[in-house]
């Protein structure tokens, strides 16, 4: 944590936020563009995300997730919150504050550390059908519609496979020997 970019930001290092923009700008921009067709709107969101990253830097915990996952989590939440506001469909409350400090609880993610290696391993345990759709969506960045068109699957099946894929991935990570997930006790 001491050497992480977010620790530097939280400590008031004036160069750290510039480094953060250089290092994670493309990731945040790609997530914003995935959620927003309108480039101007995506640009606004990217600026808001970096403001939030600056504000929440002190919440980052290296033992919970990588910096990349932390950035991705905040970026996804901000995008989805904005979409929900635009849709004016407030059936569920805004996503809660990102907090990597809390002890495991009903509300807190029980992820111990989620990194590339563990994710890749878990993906390898999924069936080809499910893994293929997950990879197209998350890794290649294709939309549901693109995946349906490219694979010939009905749109509903694509949505269901991505959802089921996430659930199977979670179940797999829970079972792995490495303590990625602690029991929710």
């Amino acid at each position: 944590m001491e050497n992480s970019i977010f620790h530097r930001i939280a400590s008031g290092d004036k160069n750290a936020m510039r480094d953060c923009v250089k290092l994670y700008g493309n990731l945040v921009w790609s997530i914003a563009r995935k959620h927003f067709q309108d480039a101007a709107l995506a640009e606004d969101i990217v600026q808001e995300i970096f403001t939030e990253l600056w504000r929440k830097a002190g919440n980052y915990r290296a033992d919970k997730a990588t910096e990349t996952t932390f950035v991705s989590l905040i970026a996804r939440r901000r995008c989805i919150d904005q979409i929900r506001k635009n849709q004016r469909r407030p059936k569920f409350q805004p996503l809660p504050e990102t907090n990597f400090n809390g002890e495991p609880s009903v509300e807190a993610p029980s992820v111990n550390r989620l990194d590339r290696e563990n994710l890749t391993h878990a993906l390898g345990t999924l069936s080809n059908d499910v893994r293929n759709v997950l990879e197209l969506y998350f890794i290649k960045g294709h939309s549901h519609g693109d995946i349906a068109r490219d694979t010939g699957l009905p749109l509903g099946t694509v949505k269901t496979r991505i959802r089921r894929g996430l659930i199977e991935l979670r179940n797999c990570l829970r079972k792995m020997d490495t303590p990625l997930f602690q029991a929710n006790t």
Binding site: K140, G141, L166, F181
Partner: protein, 269 residues
């Protein structure tokens, strides 16, 4: 696993992916009620989705930030570090919590009330509200006035006077908007009070630097007790160079696009 639980998990995953349609939203709401689950999302699934998108995505190395945005971000970073301050951790922002947290708590409270089986959630939310919300309207107004004063002292803020339109000639007030803070307030007097169940006021902000469509500045009510109301602006999008602020009267909850049948007050910058 039962079909019931299976369906519930799938809808929770869809919620994280934000790909639920209206019927699925309704199903999830019903299942949450039946399971007495007032939590808002599945944190494990969300973390995995974020990790997949961040750790394994092949797209972001191919998607460079546009130069203009890159420059804007660097300029934004300068404002963060201008005063040599460390960022404010939302978890240690003070015992009463931030304004954003207060608003989230209000929404949580309203959401809990919609779940007939989530009585414990509503009770907890009421207790939370007791701690988080200012205890009186006066305190809120005083806070708004203090924040508004700070914006008025900032020379970069935009200030304009409202004038009443047809049928609302007695209305008057002012608006202040600060681009850097993305924050602003209206003061309004002489406006008829509204019944929120029948109609609400809605602010629209015109900013030609972003596009021709007005930005939704938030929905608000004018209480019956008269006097001058201080209303925080809740712009749904970034506003940099506003040229016009217009208040309309709309159906409860406001609208996405106003037909501007009832225009109330207007301020031109």
């Amino acid at each position: 696993m039962s079909d019931f639980k299976h369906r519930y998990e799938e809808l929770r995953a869809g919620q994280v992916l934000n790909d639920l349609d209206d019927a699925e939203f309704a199903d999830l709401e019903q299942l949450c009620g039946e399971l007495e689950d007032s939590s808002s999302y599945d944190p494990e699934i969300e973390m995995i989705a974020a990790a997949l998108e961040g750790e394994l995505s092949e797209t972001y190395n191919e998607t460079a930030v546009p130069d203009k945005l890159s420059q804007a971000l660097m300029a934004q970073v300068e404002t963060f570090t201008k005063g040599g301050e460390s960022p404010v951790d939302s978890n240690t922002e003070g015992e009463n919590g931030s304004e954003e947290e207060r608003k989230d708590t209000v929404l949580m409270f309203m959401d809990a009330m919609r779940h007939p089986f989530a009585g414990w959630g509503a009770a907890a939310a009421i207790l939370l509200l007791a701690f988080l919300l200012p205890s009186t309207k006066e305190v809120t107004t005083a806070n708004y006035l203090a924040e508004r004063s700070v914006l008025l002292e900032d020379t970069s803020s935009v200030v304009a006077e409202f004038r009443g339109l047809d049928g609302f000639e007695a209305a008057r007030g002012s608006v202040v908007w600060n681009r850097g803070e993305q924050k602003g307030f209206m003061t309004l007097a002489g406006l008829p009070s509204n019944n929120p169940l029948e109609a609400q006021y809605q602010l629209w902000i015109v900013d030609p630097s972003r596009d021709t469509e007005p930005v939704d500045g938030g929905v608000f009510d004018i209480p019956k007790d008269g006097g001058e109301a201080v209303i925080p602006i809740e712009a749904k999008l970034r506003v940099d160079q506003p040229v016009l602020f217009l208040v309309t009267r709309e159906k409860p909850g406001g609208v996405v696009v106003s037909d501007q049948v009832v225009k109330v007050v207007l301020a031109e910058v």
